[in-house]
Symmetry: C2
Subunit: 343 residues, 2 copies
DNA sequence: CTGAAAGCGCTTACAG
DNA sequence: CTGAAAGCGCTTACAG
């Protein structure tokens, strides 16, 4: 360990200001009235000594970590930055620290990385935590907010999610109504993925309300993943399945769909219209620009923090927050671009 | 505050195992020999009580936070996820926690969000921290590693950065040699941005070594930003400046360049070749696919953590780590795509 | 190899 | 409004 001249503590401040450490603590926390003149002396001493309270000591004494934990599975995807941005901003403005953990490369960890021992509450994205883990946390009443995942009934944990079904329905209805498509492929996400299930429901309802009968042969698995979607489309093409549109499940998968169609010399959107979901950064830049659903990802993050903070304050939290989604029409559906962003 | 039945402490474990808390501490930390049979009893007690040590108590007692801090300015950009991914993985595998702070929306914070009071060391990206702040931390010998930023001479802080100059030189030489371009615009990044300065140097050396004289009229500011780059290109075009290629400074700026050129009906790459820098996610998807430099961003993050950990262990750290960059040839330079990823 | 005890740096009843 | 003191839950010399 490198030698560092011990930085000052609350005792140093108290001595310099000529008060007790209790008084220093009170002016720092501002939760108990302190006579202004002494408060002033304390503040002077604090800035003279450049005193910064140790987080660990405060946590230990107050039994609050003042920290929120975020558990996410795929750091590094196109989805994460936006979510994180919202969460970071809101966490910070509420005066909390943010501890992040990715369960992605989860080598059997001996110690739970995030939990009651180092956070006051947890934000959990989709299936980044085993349902059993969630249940345990819920049982000890540990403050928890889920994003894009509904908890088991008995778990009464607040969840923030988006209008997946409405979004999907808008998308598919648009293909049917404006572009006269009737054989629309749907690429499912990972097994059990809730976003995918709702999107599929929206897809089916759109078909139904337009009198198009559901064809199970048009529903295949794209895993919300470029490569998987590519493979699935290749197979469909090789099998000679007929279709005039693809709802790729999400934007990442749309990339794979584009590749497969181009390889097969099917033009987008003339031969096959393609639509995605999420509106991540690259969606407007691919060619043709992707028609998709804008999900308010950053706002999902912010709202999740807000609900968690309600919980931390012992207040009531909203058990379900459903965020509106919005149709973003570009070119891959067959429209001429409406996107104000493009020239 | 919600009531939670107090979870078990080291004292509970000690009682159940019939040993002192010191012994429990020793088997947890494994730094002092403990006879196997008692160690076993302790481990049993730990799992029976589901004991997890409080981070705060350990920190306070050991005077180590076991936490690394990351200071970054622009969460939410295309660059951040990759960097974070590398940092997260390496931090975790070294057994440290990661605390993240974005200085982006830095409302005057009363308390330094990350520092000696809550971390053992800090990772700082580019200019996300004032040089004065850096100096203060350096003066008290606080472990610090910089990314993409060289410290003032007296500061002897390790830095991890990439071969900006080489990369830029490869890019510009490619334009000159393979595509016979001679009037190449360079879009600078933000004022004082080190990456930009090196890239400009590479640009100039490439010109020089090919006997092309430097024209200051071709160097304008794009700020590594889509909108700024768009505006800069518009102006160049309106001013009637002649050019046959653009090195946009980074990939984000390339998007703005594309828009401006398309708006002016200049074809890419026939009329104007365009190259970027970074190889972020969207670069292969835009049309035409962007020729750029691949920077090993994730590896920069990992290496930064490694160096910081050397510092934390009181070992010598490498004062400068320069990561290789790689030319990624796609279509915007005028080549037919070499990118194995595309069909 | 193990225990008793001091101490890490704060917060917070409890008195006054 | 302010102080003395207990206590938060660990780690780590110091003895033995």
């Amino acid at each position: 360990m490198i030698h560092r001249n011990r930085s000052s503590t609350i005792a140093d401040v108290a001595r310099l200001a000529g008060v007790s450490i209790a008084t220093v603590s009170r002016v720092i926390n501002g939760n108990t009235p302190v006579i202004e003149s002494t408060a002033l002396r304390v503040r002077d001493a604090i800035s003279e000594l450049k005193f910064v309270p140790r987080a660990a000591a405060r946590t230990l004494a107050s039994r609050r970590t003042n920290t929120i934990g975020l558990i996410f599975s795929e750091i590094g995807g196109a989805f994460f930055p936006l979510l994180l941005k919202g969460i970071e901003a809101e966490t910070r403005s509420a005066g909390y620290e943010l501890l992040i953990h990715s369960t992605q490369a989860a080598h059997a960890q001996k110690r739970r990385p995030l939990g009651e021992h180092n956070t006051d509450g947890l934000l959990v994205f989709t299936s980044s935590l085993e349902i059993e883990e969630l249940r345990k946390l819920s049982q000890i009443n540990f403050p928890l907010v889920l994003m894009h995942q509904t908890p088991p009934d008995e778990m009464n944990t607040p969840v923030i999610t988006i209008e997946n079904k409405d979004g999907a329905e808008m998308l598919v209805s648009h293909l049917i109504e404006k572009h006269a498509r009737r054989r629309i492929v749907f690429l499912q996400g990972p097994e059990g993925h809730e976003d995918s299930q709702w999107r599929e429901r929206g897809y089916r309802e759109a078909l139904e309300s337009h009198g198009i009968s559901f064809d199970p042969g048009l529903v295949v698995s794209g895993e919300f993943d470029e490569e998987q979607a590519f493979a699935a489309m290749r197979k469909l093409l090789l099998d000679g399945i007929e279709f005039d549109a693809v709802f790729s499940g999400d934007d990442d998968a749309a990339i794979g769909v584009y590749r497969a169609l181009k390889m097969a010399n099917r033009s987008i959107p003339d031969d096959v219209a393609v639509v995605g979901f999420d509106d991540v950064q690259f969606s407007r830049y691919i060619s043709p620009a992707l028609t998709t659903i804008r999900a308010p990802i950053e706002e999902v993050g912010r709202e999740a923090v807000r609900q968690l903070i309600h919980l931390l304050n012992g207040e009531q939290a909203q058990s379900l927050t459903l965020m509106r989604t919005e149709l973003v029409i570009r070119e891959s559906c067959g429209c001429k671009s409406h996107d104000s962003h493009k020239s």
